[in-house]
Symmetry: C2
Subunit: 432 residues, 2 copies
């Protein structure tokens, strides 16, 4: 099948899948887990072929690690599927119900978005996770993996499709774009794809965001900040700065720039320098920072750089508004924290910093779907519409309006003598 | 100011406006209504200048009617502003609250989107309505009106800005793009504009949707359907067909194509023909329709044409799935109704028709924010993300995550001996 045919088939399947009942979807999920276990030898062997090819083409060690899909990874994704089975069906939930008039009832009911396009690099486990999330939420899915994982992706997509279709999920709901398929072609398919979820490096996500009319759920950069206010507890600020920077430097929610109020800088900076340098962090500071501690000079470029490494830029600021302005100017709207005992400063910071996640007295590393208790995470979004911050399955849902009447026409409600709407809250579930 | 400077000022004002308290916003709204009344003579005279210019350039009668902004229209928009003052502030509402651990509380709190770009034709009342909706929801707004309304728009924007800024709303929150400003330039301003709301003709909205990376809230076409099922009450079906087509032909929610089950066609078609022709509707039918009643022959193009006129295309179908397939293929995902006494057919139709509004036994003309009881309407959206169908003020809102801690770091929650998250529902409002 061509890319367009695969996409058209997914669109068509998505219509049917939206109406598939909960028990069928859960049965399909159980069948998928079973099939993954049954075919584990074949899957691992396909993955080994990818690993061998990758080693030949000198793929870096971290990429090789992400590419690896062994028995343990299979057990992990199966555990994920089993917890997905347990959660309530997010489709068909009545969000709002209103009586417009006697016998004329309006229901706002959750439903799937339609076709989700997922473009991901390396990790084959992403294929299983996202496709089962789509299934549970009633969405069809078009997957495009990296060429380095082609054998793994092929067999995983086959196993997931076959097991789910056997359980009654509409044929074609999962489409795998073969590696020869051009990402550029997928980005043009706005007639079939309703939402794109890219998973991969910043450059990769940025490229996708800049080259499609399809809505994209994700984030390109994670330039996060910790602002240490004049009213901060110094010990707490040190602990949080170290955790935000070092707990996992390659994460999008790790901190890249620390802003320090001048009133606390002389006390705080020497101590935080010692703590960070002990972890191997290179410090780059503004002139005011350099007047207090020895640091490399920061450049303008540093403020908008996501290091994803043991490097931290530091700026001394004169006030909370200066910190807020710096963050709104250079940040990526991801996660920013204030450390202070002054609740007024915290409120101002959290109101005025225009980011998906604004924190008070805790590490930026908490911004994550699992830590938030959202269950499965679709991704972290820095969008300003639809879904923001860590996004759980609700990011794959929208709603439709169902109006149940008994012959009503608008003409009867028009003009000065017309009938009036009651607009009464119903608080009941839609029965259709 | 250049367009970019006006947009940058709006972005900057939007940050401050997001944190403006309810009483200040309400006071500003009251001041705007008062200023509109006080300046009514000047406003009407500016509008008369636009009307004179428009007559000279032979603007059509419907456009002239939309352009007119007289004392009555001023009274109407002021009444709208007064009802806006009465509604609860939609900003700062706690949507979800979770304890992650003792002293570590997560709040999902509603907030404005940021900068809303509104591009509208003719109607000067749209300027007042949308800018006051933006103000109440804490959004800055960039307005671009039609050149035919330039004098009206200029004075209205001045009055709204001055009155609101006097009451404490941040300067620059409302930017009027002068008529010389190119729409094309606005469509490129994704660094400043977070959401575009176009108001105008289908071609105009389609043009905007196809030429920007900024998310657009709206609908290009309204190709709506009524499907008369075999199980329909014939009298009800006739009433609903006539209302859906004729109650206001120029509306986006009026019907363009009627699908009729063959089992009821012989009884229904002659009667509905009589009723529709009495209203002056021209009928265009498929071959099966033509075998029962005298109609003009329909062409393939008719199925995807929004007439916005006294014309209706008719197709006889063999089953509900055939009707559903036709609607999903040719419709615009706006509003589609089934007329039947068979609840199974109704359920199938409402589940499988992929439209924002799916109706059972009532007129398509009900799909409207006012009739739905949403209060002020931002527009009707056929998007698959963020907001769908008639959109009230909630379409101008998103949320941010506020995490309130007491020194927590992620390292303490890592590894096998780490602390565990409680993920306990809190059901309490965020105090910051």
């Amino acid at each position: 099948m061509s890319i367009a045919e695969t996409a058209a088939a997914a669109k068509s399947a998505s219509i049917q899948l939206a109406a598939v009942k909960t028990d069928v979807k859960n049965k399909a999920l159980a069948e998928i887990a079973e099939a993954l276990r049954e075919n584990s030898a074949e899957i691992v062997s396909a993955n080994e072929q990818d690993l061998t090819d990758a080693q030949k083409s000198n793929l870096s060690a971290p990429l090789l690690k992400r590419l690896k899909f062994d028995e343990q990874k299979i057990a992990d994704v199966c555990a994920g599927i089993e917890s997905l089975i347990k959660i309530d069906d997010p489709v068909g939930r009545t969000i709002r119900s209103t009586e417009l008039d006697g016998g004329l009832e309006l229901y706002k009911v959750s439903c799937p978005i339609g076709v989700i396009g997922v473009i991901f690099e390396s990790r084959p486990d992403a294929l299983v996770q996202i496709s089962t999330l789509c299934l549970k939420s009633g969405n069809a899915v078009l997957l495009k993996g990296g060429s380095e994982a082609q054998h793994s992706n092929k067999i995983l997509a086959d196993v997931v499709s076959r097991a789910s279709e056997k359980a009654g999920i509409p044929k074609g709901w999962l489409g795998l774009m073969e590696t020869r398929a051009d990402v550029a072609e997928i980005l043009k398919m706005d007639q079939y794809i309703d939402l794109l979820v890219p998973r991969g490096s910043n450059e990769f996500v940025r490229h996708i965001m800049d080259n499609t009319n399809i809505p994209v759920l994700g984030h390109a950069e994670g330039i996060c900040h910790v602002y240490v206010d004049a009213g901060a507890d110094v010990d707490m600020a040190i602990r949080i700065a170290v955790d935000s920077k070092c707990q996992y430097v390659a994460a999008c929610n790790s901190v890249e720039t620390m802003l320090v109020h001048y009133g606390i800088a002389e006390e705080f900076l020497p101590q935080v320098k010692a703590a960070l340098e002990e972890k191997g962090v290179e410090l780059r500071g503004c002139e005011k920072t350099a007047a207090i501690i020895e640091v490399k000079a920061v450049t303008e470029e540093d403020w908008s750089t996501e290091y994803l490494d043991y490097i931290l830029s530091i700026k001394v600021v004169g006030s909370p508004p200066e910190a807020i302005e710096h963050i709104n100017r250079y940040g990526s709207g991801h996660t920013d924290a204030i450390i202070t005992n002054d609740s007024g400063a915290a409120e101002e910071f959290m109101d005025l910093v225009d980011s998906a996640n604004v924190f008070w007295n805790c590490s930026t590393r908490f911004s994550d779907g699992y830590r938030y208790g959202l269950g499965a995470e679709v991704g972290i979004s820095t969008n300003k519409i639809h879904a923001r911050g860590p996004v759980g399955m609700e990011g794959l849902l929208i709603y439709k309006w169902k109006l149940l009447g008994s012959g009503q026409v608008v003409a009867d409600y028009s003009g000065s003598g017309g009938k009036r709407f009651t607009h009464k809250k119903l608080n009941k579930d839609c029965e259709l």
